[in-house]
């Protein structure tokens, strides 16, 4: 495994949980002692080989890691440029990268003696992954989900129920992901002593952004080694979709000190200038929400705006603070693709590679399809195929005018 170099970009956050000016711990005093306790517990666990061994065990035997890295040969030929590889995190148990983080956090919850699990979810993927690990470890689990999302994601709601979780529809605000996160935080404040909050993305108060990144870094660590084995070198470009940004930071972080161009793809929804998008880095400005300072979609008075994306997993008005930092220093490029471009890429992936991708990585693929043809045949693109698309077939059918 490669070690961080001097002046490494991989040594953040600092002791205050800051990535440059971003991150931090912006929570009410009731939660602050809990956040500090969590940070101490995580620091201890991180340095404990037994914890790492336990994490590795579940990664291998339960999640099914390492996930393969696939040379997408037909897609490469079709696009006619750089070689395209997929990191196949859609093959994980529960069908996405979310489970990596949930295993890590529930192992920590267990170490801390917590007896109740809560989580927020948008599309339901993180909710399903959380309900899965709660079932595996026999802990009661409450999932907060916007009432609007409960309506449009019925299959995932049922999955969570089958797994024994209680799904609480959230009706406050716009009844979507950010409101679900608000209500999960409210639950946590009211049940601080026994409850562990499994946040689903690399955002929230410190230590969550660092902790989630560390658990998701299994993606980049594997991909880096797999690429060296397959090609004898690292990729020229790494590409991943950005909602909160956990799959992207998991892929990027182990390669931040390497000479690899990195591109995060946000959701442009109906267009960056339509007012209906989820591109907080492309169109937002720094602010504080959900415990961290980061780029946010907000109005002139600092009120948070609703995000829009065809992909419920990208439909969040903020982004993890490390991405805000990597954006400001220019280490990672952040671009955006529209709902329509993602839909086209979704179909392209099905037809050329026989893989139904989730709409989230379909955004990454849409950008790959833009840059690959302009690159040389001996150049390499590595894309994180972070989730499978079974959950999205109803959404896609509706947009394609098909009735299921």
């Amino acid at each position: 495994m490669n070690k961080p170099i001097p002046n490494s970009l991989r040594n953040l956050p600092d002791e205050r949980g800051r990535f440059g000016e971003f991150g931090g711990r912006f929570v009410a005093e009731t939660l602050m002692p809990l956040i500090l306790e969590l940070e101490a517990a995580y620091e201890t666990a991180k340095g404990d080989p037994a914890f790492q061994a336990e994490f590795d065990y579940y990664m291998k035997h339960y999640v099914g890691r390492p996930s393969p890295m696939w040379f997408a040969e037909r897609l490469t030929k079709k696009l006619g440029g750089a070689k395209i590889y997929f990191k196949r995190d859609e093959l994980n148990h529960t069908g996405a990268h979310k489970i990596n983080n949930c295993i890590g956090q529930i192992l920590l919850a267990k170490r801390m003696g917590k007896t109740r699990i809560i989580a927020e979810t948008g599309a339901g993927q993180h909710g399903v992954a959380t309900a899965t690990v709660a079932a595996l470890f026999g802990l009661p689990c409450v999932i907060y989900m916007g009432a609007v999302d409960v309506e449009r994601q019925q299959p995932n709601v049922f999955r969570m129920k089958l797994l024994g979780a209680e799904v609480r529809p959230v009706t406050s605000g716009a009844a979507t992901l950010k409101d679900a996160m608000n209500d999960a935080l409210r639950d946590w404040v009211a049940n601080v002593r026994d409850t562990f909050y499994i946040i689903g993305t690399a955002a929230g108060p410190h230590p969550y952004p660092a902790m989630v990144r560390d658990f998701q870094s299994v993606i980049g660590v594997e991909a880096r080694a797999q690429m060296l084995e397959a090609e004898g070198r690292l990729p020229d470009v790494a590409v991943a979709a950005i909602g909160g940004g956990s799959n992207a930071i998991g892929l990027f972080h182990p390669m931040l000190d390497d000479d690899v161009r990195m591109i995060g793809v946000e959701a442009a929804g109906r267009g960056l200038d339509s007012g209906e998008h989820a591109a907080s880095l492309s169109r937002g400005r720094p602010g504080v929400l959900h415990g961290n300072k980061t780029y946010l979609l907000q109005d002139a008075d600092g009120q948070i705006l609703e995000a829009h994306s065809i992909s419920a997993g990208l439909d969040y008005p903020g982004v993890g603070p490390e991405h805000s930092y990597l954006h400001d220093i220019g280490r990672v490029e952040y671009v955006a693709v529209t709902d329509d471009e993602a839909l086209a890429a979704f179909q392209l992936c099905c037809a050329t590679e026989g893989i139904i991708p989730a709409l989230e990585p379909a955004h990454a693929l849409a950008y790959v399809a833009k840059i690959a043809p302009e690159m040389a045949a001996d150049q390499i693109i590595l894309m994180n195929l972070c989730g499978r698309g079974d959950k999205d077939i109803f959404t896609v059918a509706k947009h394609l005018g098909e009735r299921l």
């Binding site: 931090g24 711990r25 005093e29 009731t30 602050m32 009211a190 600092g302």
Partner: protein, 281 residues
């Protein structure tokens, strides 16, 4: 001596605890909150907290969440809230006003500009719910330069070891969040307060206000036995929210009912002999 210190000095001289009431700015409209501010001052509130509406109030229960939503719908902004303060101050130069809200609208307004305008318009203290001690260096210098108190929240989860950290740079008063939970839900018992307030007294000389879950004159009277002030917010908003007409407006009669509640609470603060100060101060 600023208005907050002067008020607690007066309360101590009167041998009673103070009543802190709460108005969500622009809920359900500007005129109603202006009328409530003036009316509460006339009916015996000792300090008034003005809630600054935010789209994502993560420490608030349903009552204040909905109040914030009505207020934003009515066009509430940071500038508009400060203008309410300016208008109140034109008629009252003694009653302390404390702004309570979340960080992002203040960041968006600009911290320096916020502190300067708040001071100019007559704000005495600021409570920023999601700005814990560890992050408050971002606001403290500006507030201090403008002689505005940064009032800190202390919770049941704040350990004895942590109390000095939280209280070190506090001024004005200490706001004790008497329950682990969100606003307007559970209520702390007399036993809870008998256990918790002395713990705080040992750590600070500042006056202690108790909030979150104080709803009735009886509960306020219990708080008055232990603390220096009781904060009542959600109960007053609930009274108003339940009586709004079909267009979401508050009639003069409804505002009168809310103010009657304030009178009853103010009377409760004058009922119980102040044993706490004598034994603990």
């Amino acid at each position: 001596m600023n208005r907050i210190a002067a008020t607690f000095a007066r309360l101590k001289a009167e041998g009673r605890a103070g009543l802190i009431t709460f108005v969500e700015a622009f809920d359900p409209d500007r005129a109603t909150s202006a009328a409530l501010l003036a009316g509460m001052a006339a009916r015996g509130a000792d300090i008034i907290e003005i809630g600054m509406p935010f789209s994502d109030p993560m420490a608030d229960g349903p009552t204040i969440q909905l109040a914030g939503r009505r207020a934003l719908h009515a066009g509430a902004t940071v500038a508009g809230t400060l203008d309410l303060v300016r208008e109140f101050r034109a008629g009252n130069d003694t009653l302390p006003l404390v702004l309570m809200g979340y960080l992002n609208p203040i960041l968006s307004y600009g911290i320096e500009r916020f502190a300067a305008d708040a001071a100019r318009f007559g704000v005495d203290g600021v409570i920023v719910v999601d700005l814990p001690t560890e992050e408050s260096d971002m606001m403290l210098p500006s507030l201090r330069a403008n002689r505005i108190d940064l009032i800190r929240l202390v919770a049941p989860t704040t350990s004895d070891e942590r109390l000095p950290v939280v209280l070190k740079e506090s001024s004005g008063f200490v706001y004790y969040v008497s329950i682990t939970g969100i606003t307007g839900t559970r209520t702390a018992s007399a036993d809870d307060l008998a256990r918790d307030i002395p713990r705080l007294r040992r750590a600070t000389d500042l006056p202690i206000a108790v909030g979150f879950g104080v709803r009735t004159p009886e509960q306020a009277a219990i708080v008055a036995q232990y603390a220096d002030a009781a904060v009542v917010a959600s109960a007053l908003i609930d009274r108003m929210a339940a009586g709004l007409d079909g267009n979401g407006h508050a009639s003069p009669a409804l505002i009168g009912q809310v103010l009657d509640d304030v009178s009853a609470l103010a009377a409760a603060m004058r009922l119980e002999p102040r044993v706490a100060y004598a034994s603990l101060a």
